[in-house]
C-alpha cells in the first residue's frame, strides 16, 4: 500500500471507519485499468498479519496468496458490466506472516462507477459452520463404518445361515435317505418335525402331524400311551420301549426310542422302529413251535402239522399211527379243530379192553331192553358225534364183530342201534389211531383188511420223542409252565444238567412220559430251577443212550444194519432186539417190514 486514493472521499470518514472496524473488513477500490487496488478507510486489525503495514494504501500483489492473486487477475463480470451485483470468491486459507493461518473471503462489487473489493476475515460464524460440517462429516463417516460393520455382520450371518441351511438340508436328506422314522417334540409334547418315513408309516401328511399333540398323531393303545408318556417325561438321556401296537386299520407294531434333544433338554426326539414284520414272523414262529395243543418245532413235527392241515381240508377217515404217549389224540383234535367240522362235537373213544357187546353199545347205542341193564334207549357215540368227529383210539384192539359193524358204518354212513332193526343215517368223520402195526395184524388175521383200507385213506405217523429230541427242551419248558400254573409253584427254569439228562433219556413212554417226569420234578423241586435230583429215579439212573445209535436218524442202509445187528445180538428175539434199539416192539415190527428184513 503506497498511497491513499484521493478520488474516494467518504461523506463522514470517521463514521465510515467505525463501520469498517465493526464489520472487520477491508475495502479496496480497483483502479480503472485494474492494475492496482487501493485501500479505502482504515484496514481491520488483522490486515497487517497478511498484507503488511496498515499505512500502505495500495495492495501489494506479491504479498498476496496465490489464491487472492489469481482472484484479482481473473476477470469478474461484476466489474466489467457494472451490474450492481456482487461476486464472492469463496473461502480460502491465508498464511500469516508470523505463522498460522486465517480464512478469508473476497467480494467483488460495483458501487456507482467504482469497482470495489471487500476482503473479510471469516470469524466465529464461519468457525461455527466449519464445526457443523466437521461434525456432520464425522457422523457420516461413523455411520458409514457402522453400516459397513452391519453389512459385514449381515453377510457373515447370511453365510452362516446358508451354511446352516445347507447342513440342515444335508442332514435332512441323509435322514430321509436312511429312512429313519423320527419325530421331534417340543416341551409341550407338540410335534415340531416329522421325517418322510414317519409320515409314510403313519399314513399322514405333514400338515396333519406338525403342530399336533403326539397322542393325536400316533394311535397308541391307552396303556402303551401311558408307558410312552412316562418315557417322555423321564429325565434319562435316552430310553426305549415296546413293541407297542398301533390301532390302525392294518395293525402295526412299533418300538419306541426316545432321546433328549441335545440342544434343548426339554425337547424330545422320538424314533419309531416298525416291528410289524418281525412281530408277524415271531407269531408265525410261535405258531410253528406249537400247533393247537401240540408242542414241537422239529422238522418231523412241522411235517406232521402240515399233514394235519392238509388232512383237515378233506373229509376222509384218517389213521394216526404212533407209539403210546406220542399224542395221537391231540392230533385227532387238531384235525377236527382245523376242519370244517370244528363247530360240531369231537368225541373220543378208547376201544382197547372192551368186549364186543359193550363196545358195540357204546359206538352205536341201544334200544331199551336190548340186553340186561338196558333200561333206556341210548344213543351211541356215532350219533353223539353227529356232524363232528369220532376219534377211535386203539382201533387195532377192536374185536372182530365190531370191525364188521364199523366197516358198514363207514361204507353206508348209517348205524343201527343194538336191539333195533332200522338203521339211522349219521354224518361223522372217523379218525382212528393205533400203536399197532395194522398191516401185520391183517397178516396175522386179527384185523380186517377191508377195514384197514377204509380207515387208512389218510395217514399221519407220529414220530416217537427219541426221534425228535430237539423238541424236548421246548416240551419240558411248556410242561413246566403248565404245571407251575396249575400247582401255583414258581419254578423259573430247568437246570442245564437236568435238561442234559432229559435229552439223553430214551423216553419209551414218549411225550406222556416226559410230562409225567416234569410233574414229578415240580413236586420234588424246592428251588427256582429243576435240578437233576428232582427227576424220577429211572431217569437219573438210566444209562445214557449213545446219541448216534438212537436219535440221530441214519440213512436206511445203516438203520438196516443196526436192526440186523440188534436181531443177531438178541439171537432172533424181536422183543429183546427192540429193547436194545430203544424202540417199541410195534415200531420195531413196522420198521422190519419197511426195511424188508425177514427176521425168521
Amino acid at each position: 500500500m503506497n498511497s491513499r486514493n484521493p478520488e474516494f472521499t467518504p461523506v463522514d470518514e470517521s463514521l465510515f471507519n467505525r463501520v469498517l472496524l465493526t464489520l472487520d473488513i477491508a475495502v479496496l477500490e480497483r483502479n480503472e485499468d485494474g492494475s492496482a487496488f487501493h485501500l479505502r478507510g482504515l484496514p481491520p486489525k488483522w490486515w497487517h498479519l497478511c498484507f503488511g503495514l496498515a499505512e500502505a494504501t495500495t495492495l501489494d500483489s506479491n504479498r498476496c496468496s496465490p489464491f487472492l492473486r489469481e482472484y484479482l487477475m481473473n476477470p469478474h463480470p461484476v466489474w466489467e458490466n457494472k451490474t450492481g451485483e456482487i461476486e464472492r470468491s469463496g473461502p480460502w486459507t491465508e498464511s500469516q506472516e508470523q505463522g498460522g493461518t486465517m480464512t478469508l473471503e473476497a467480494t467483488a462489487l460495483s458501487v456507482g462507477s467504482k469497482n470495489l473489493l471487500l476482503i473479510e476475515r471469516l470469524g466465529s460464524h464461519f468457525e461455527h459452520m466449519r464445526d457443523i460440517v466437521q461434525r456432520a462429516r464425522e457422523r457420516m463417516l461413523t455411520e458409514d463404518i457402522t453400516t459397513k460393520s452391519y453389512r459385514k455382520t449381515q453377510t457373515r450371518l447370511i453365510g452362516q445361515l446358508e451354511a446352516s441351511e445347507r447342513t440342515k438340508d444335508d442332514a435332512l436328506a441323509l435322514l430321509q435317505h436312511l429312512g429313519i422314522t423320527a419325530l421331534v417334540l417340543d416341551e409341550r409334547g407338540y410335534v415340531t418335525f416329522v421325517s418322510d418315513r414317519a409320515l409314510e408309516m403313519l399314513g399322514l401328511g405333514s400338515n396333519d402331524v406338525v403342530g399336533q399333540k403326539l397322542e393325536r398323531v400316533i394311535p397308541f393303545q391307552e396303556q402303551d400311551r401311558q408307558l410312552v408318556q412316562h418315557q417322555l417325561d423321564g429325565s434319562s438321556r435316552t430310553g426305549s420301549g415296546g413293541p407297542f401296537r398301533l390301532d390302525r386299520a392294518r395293525p402295526q407294531w412299533v418300538e419306541v426310542e426316545i432321546h433328549r434333544d441335545p440342544r434343548h433338554p426339554d425337547r424330545r426326539i422320538m424314533v419309531l422302529h416298525d416291528r410289524t414284520e418281525i412281530h408277524a414272523l415271531r407269531q408265525a414262529l410261535n405258531e410253528q413251535a406249537s400247533f393247537h395243543d401240540l408242542v414241537g418245532k422239529s422238522p418231523a413235527m412241522l411235517r406232521v402239522y402240515q399233514l394235519v392241515r392238509d388232512v383237515a381240508q378233506v373229509d376222509t377217515t384218517v389213521l394216526i399211527e404212533g407209539e403210546t404217549g406220542t399224542g395221537k389224540e391231540l392230533i385227532a383234535r387238531a384235525i377236527h379243530f382245523s376242519s370244517a367240522r370244528k363247530h360240531k362235537p369231537f368225541i373220543a373213544a378208547n376201544c382197547a379192553g372192551l368186549t364186543d357187546s359193550i363196545l358195540t353199545s357204546q359206538l352205536f347205542g341201544h334200544k331199551r331192553g336190548a340186553f340186561t341193564g338196558a333200561v333206556n334207549d341210548q344213543q351211541g357215540l356215532f350219533e353223539a358225534a353227529e356232524g363232528g368227529t369220532l376219534f377211535l383210539d386203539e382201533i387195532g384192539d377192536i374185536p372182530s364183530p365190531v370191525q364188521t359193524a364199523l366197516l358198514r358204518v363207514l361204507q353206508e354212513k348209517e348205524i343201527t342201534r343194538l336191539g333195533e332193526a332200522k338203521p339211522r343215517k349219521v354224518d361223522v368223520r372217523v379218525v382212528a389211531a393205533t400203536h399197532h402195526n395194522l398191516s401185520e395184524d391183517v397178516v396175522r388175521g386179527s384185523f380186517r383188511a377191508d377195514l384197514l383200507y377204509r380207515i387208512r385213506i389218510a395217514r399221519v405217523q407220529l414220530p416217537p420223542l427219541r426221534e425228535r429230541r430237539e423238541d424236548i427242551p421246548l416240551l419240558a419248558q411248556s410242561f413246566l409252565g403248565q404245571i407251575c400254573t396249575a400247582t401255583g409253584k414258581t419254578i423259573e427254569r430247568l437246570n442245564p444238567d437236568t435238561l442234559r439228562l432229559l435229552m439223553s433219556h430214551a423216553w419209551p413212554g414218549n411225550v406222556r412220559e416226559l410230562k409225567s417226569a416234569i410233574e414229578f420234578a415240580v413236586i420234588s423241586c424246592k428251588a427256582k430251577e429243576v435240578l437233576p435230583i428232582d427227576l424220577p429215579p429211572e431217569i437219573i439212573s438210566a444209562p445214557v443212550v449213545p446219541s448216534s445209535s438212537v436219535w440221530i436218524p441214519l440213512p436206511n442202509r445203516d438203520e438196516k444194519s443196526r436192526f440186523l445187528a440188534a436181531l443177531s445180538d438178541a439171537k432172533g428175539n424181536r422183543t429183546e432186539a427192540a429193547k436194545r434199539l430203544g424202540i417199541s416192539r410195534a415200531t420195531f415190527y413196522r420198521r422190519l417190514v419197511e426195511l424188508n428184513i425177514d427176521s425168521r
Binding site: 496468496s65 496465490p66 489464491f67 489469481e70 481473473n74 470468491s89 469463496g90 473461502p91 480460502w92 486459507t93 493461518t101 480464512t103 473471503e105 464461519f126 459452520m129 466449519r130 460440517v133 466437521q134 456432520a136 462429516r137 464425522e138 457420516m140 463417516l141 458409514d144 459397513k148
Partner: protein, 171 residues
C-alpha cells in the same frame, strides 16, 4: 520458473489434504480435519530437467453440503481425483467431479489415486470397478498418504503429463 495449478478433487475425507501434506511437508495426521474452501500449497519439482512449481489447490471435499465452485477449477493445468478405497461411493463422486473439471478447464492432464491402500483388506472398490475406470482412460494409482506409498509417484506422473501436454495454461 514454470508454475502449474493442480486441483485436488474428490469426496470428503478421501485424503486430499493428507496427500498434499505428505507430498509437501512429509507429515501425516490420523485426525480428520475437514477443509472448507481452498488451501493452496506450493512445491517445486523437476521434470525432464525442467523445474516447475506445483501450485496445489487443496479444495474442500464434495458432498451434499458443499459443491465445488467452477471458479476454483479455472486455470488448472491438471487435477488429481482422489478416491477412498474403503468407500465405493467416492468413485461416483470422482466420476462426477471429473466431468465438472473437463467441462470447466477442458482437456487437461489428470491422474486418479485410490487412497488408503494401508487398509486394503477393507476396500470396497473392487477390481472390476478399477478396470472400468481404466477402460475410461483414467490413470489409476494406488497409494497411502498414511504410509507415504504412491504419493511421489502420483505428483510426478501428473507433472510429467502436464509438461508433455500440448497446451500449458499458465507457464
Amino acid at each position: 520458473m514454470m508454475q502449474k495449478k493442480i486441483c485436488m478433487l474428490g469426496s470428503f475425507a478421501v485424503g486430499k489434504t493428507s496427500l498434499v501434506r505428505r507430498f509437501v511437508s512429509n507429515v501425516f495426521s490420523d485426525h480428520y480435519h475437514t477443509t472448507i474452501g481452498v488451501t493452496v500449497e506450493k512445491k517445486s519439482v523437476t521434470v525432464n530437467d525442467h523445474e516447475i512449481v506445483l501450485m496445489l489447490w487443496d479444495l474442500y471435499g464434495e458432498d451434499e453440503f458443499q459443491k465445488v465452485r467452477d471458479s476454483y477449477l479455472r486455470g488448472s493445468a491438471g487435477y488429481i481425483l482422489v478416491m477412498d478405497g474403503t468407500r465405493k461411493a467416492t468413485v461416483d463422486t470422482a466420476l462426477a467431479l471429473q466431468q465438472t473439471a473437463a467441462r470447466t478447464v477442458g482437456t487437461v492432464p489428470f491422474v486418479s489415486i485410490i487412497n488408503k491402500s494401508d487398509v486394503r483388506s477393507e476396500w470396497e472398490i473392487d477390481e472390476r470397478t478399477i478396470e472400468q475406470l481404466r477402460e475410461r482412460g483414467w490413470p489409476v494409482l494406488f497409494g497411502s498418504a498414511k504410509l507415504g506409498q504412491g504419493v511421489e509417484e502420483l505428483f510426478a506422473l501428473l507433472a510429467t503429463q502436464m509438461v508433455s501436454a500440448p497446451s500449458c495454461p499458465r507457464d
